[in-house]
Subunit: 346 residues, 2 copies
């Protein structure tokens, strides 16, 4: 593929068929389209990074959900960060760094209103706007403030803790006053990272023994807040150890996204009554009003060096599907992003 | 047994062994004990009615819960309403009607602080203090105001709707502004009663076809608030039809109280995320601060004839165990109470 330095074309990933169970590369196709001339008030953006996120799996199915499904034969979308390379909008001159939702492609184009200018990050990668400084961080923040509010001295358990949202959640829980933060992850390396880099007080590898056996030892005083990215056995094990008035913030259920049969829920639902538990599922679209509060706090925490992060960076729009599939399998630590920009668009 | 008109003895029900699965009469024994002379500030109460409630099944097991288990070989306790027949407490003269927790016996005795004077109910049975005017009504009220708050225009689904809490909940939901109230019950007679007497807009007999098949037709616009007394298939069916931001108030899980194996939870837990659902289990002990607000409102509703009720009355302390077992099997409509008072204590 020729280098895309004149930005006349856009290489895009489309959904060609709906996956049953685990998606495969055959469910996707890559197309390169010639871009139309810019209309009035439109801009063209050379993306630097695009985001691949677990929730996108839901959009690959046809089921009605909180975001509409991806259309078959159409280019998918999602978060991306890039720079204006052509503009017919005064508000967004060439060179402006913009965050937007027309991802899964190397060059995006549309009405200026669909692109938000964001401050440059001297010394840091703009990909952080897809992670800790963006939706990922906001998701963790909303879950721990609005949904399963953490209060001073709480014990917090985070499932899938080495992922993008999990690593953010662990640190935010501590900053909000949690006295003990416990995480689950799928390898011993991730477990070590959680404890050594991210400040988790305890962590377990859920692949080495049933979670229900491991978790009680790590939570001798029970759990007050459970932040769930995984569902299934994680939710069931958490319900075993929740304290009275415990809160469960259900952010994701990655263990079930590729299930082909309905999976039975926890066998200990009666604990909701005997322990006065509350559980809330949430998606960020209902909580965007928390963004400015989050931006203020996270800017402060980040500037003070109180928040660290990892990124798993895959190069080339042509590898975006692999990046997504590997992320679903847990190959990433921290945020998985695809670098679509220089030095090479493929 | 001789008539107990001098109140020198008390006939009491004790737990003699812990049930596995469904309780049987053999798990209980009836004893008649000679009462001690009253100590200073003590009172003796001839009970008129004692309460049998689903939550008592939990206390028959040894598992730690929000109320301590009944002790083996000791007299059980629970709500009761009676009249002071001997008093060494100025605050509670002979003849006072009192509500208290020393039930499962025909005559109760103890410190005055354990007994609360309540107003006489001219023309109504004092047993209402065990039902619609008491903990039963308060449970329904708390569930629909604090836990799964009902707002104007909501559709509310109530499981086990012909029981004591269910019949109260259906009416309170309407009084709080629900536009459509749906109930489930275990017989066609109960279904008819819900619609004809209790003002339910729709009701179903869960024994005639799977709930998951029946409920969607009765809830064409979905369900905003689910008040659950049953658990199991009722919770699963409700999760299928909950609207975005729906609230689930989990009051009971009578379908599981006698299970001998853990029962798998709903297979549609992912709906919590995609529909932003919230679920809270509750027990009344954490919400007694709502009692005065409830008393005020319910007195007004009741006085204005806006609330109706049923009672299933069983006569004689000797039949209390049967009353409890029949209530667990759903033989009652409305509140199940045992009349322990005149004309005959057995």
């Amino acid at each position: 593929m020729p280098e895309n330095t004149t930005y006349q074309t856009s290489t895009q990933i489309q959904l060609s068929s709906r996956p049953t169970g685990w998606p495969t590369p055959e469910n996707f196709r890559t197309v390169t389209v010639q871009l139309d001339d810019l209309g009035e008030n439109q801009v063209r953006v050379a993306n630097e990074f695009i985001s691949v996120d677990p929730y996108m799996r839901g959009r690959m199915s046809s089921a009605k959900s909180y975001v509409p499904p991806f259309e078959l034969g159409e280019t998918m979308d999602g978060s991306a960060i890039g720079r204006i390379v052509a503009s017919r909008a005064e508000s967004l001159p060439v060179g402006t760094l913009v965050l937007h939702q027309l991802g899964w492609r190397d060059v995006s184009q549309g009405d200026a209103g669909a692109f938000s200018a964001v401050p440059e990050l001297p010394g840091d990668s703009p990909s952080l706007y897809l992670g800790i400084l963006g939706m990922t961080g906001l998701t963790a923040y909303v879950g721990l403030t609005e949904i399963g509010p953490v209060t001073e001295g709480d014990t917090v358990f985070i499932s899938g803790a080495a992922g993008a949202v999990g690593t953010a959640a662990g640190q935010i829980a501590k900053l909000l006053g949690a006295s003990r933060v416990i995480g689950s992850a799928g390898s011993d390396e991730k477990v070590a990272l959680l404890k050594e880099k991210y400040g988790f007080d305890a962590a377990l590898n859920y692949k080495t023994a049933p979670l229900r056996e491991q978790l009680p030892d790590l939570a001798p005083d029970g759990v007050d807040v459970f932040f769930d990215n995984v569902g299934g056995d994680h939710l069931e094990a958490a319900l075993d150890v929740m304290n009275t008035h415990g809160r469960l913030a259900i952010c994701g259920a990655i263990s079930q996204y590729n299930a082909t049969e309905p999976t039975k829920g926890p066998d200990n639902m009666a604990n909701f009554i005997t322990r006065s538990l509350s559980m809330r599922g949430f998606t960020l679209n209902h909580h965007l009003d928390k963004a400015s509060e989050f931006n203020e706090k996270m800017t402060q925490w980040f500037g003070a060096g109180k928040v660290v992060y990892d990124e798993t960076v895959v190069n080339g729009i042509g590898n975006a599907v692999d990046a997504f599939l590997n992320m679903m399998r847990g190959a990433n630590t921290g945020k998985m992003v695809v670098r679509t920009g220089t030095p090479d668009n493929d």
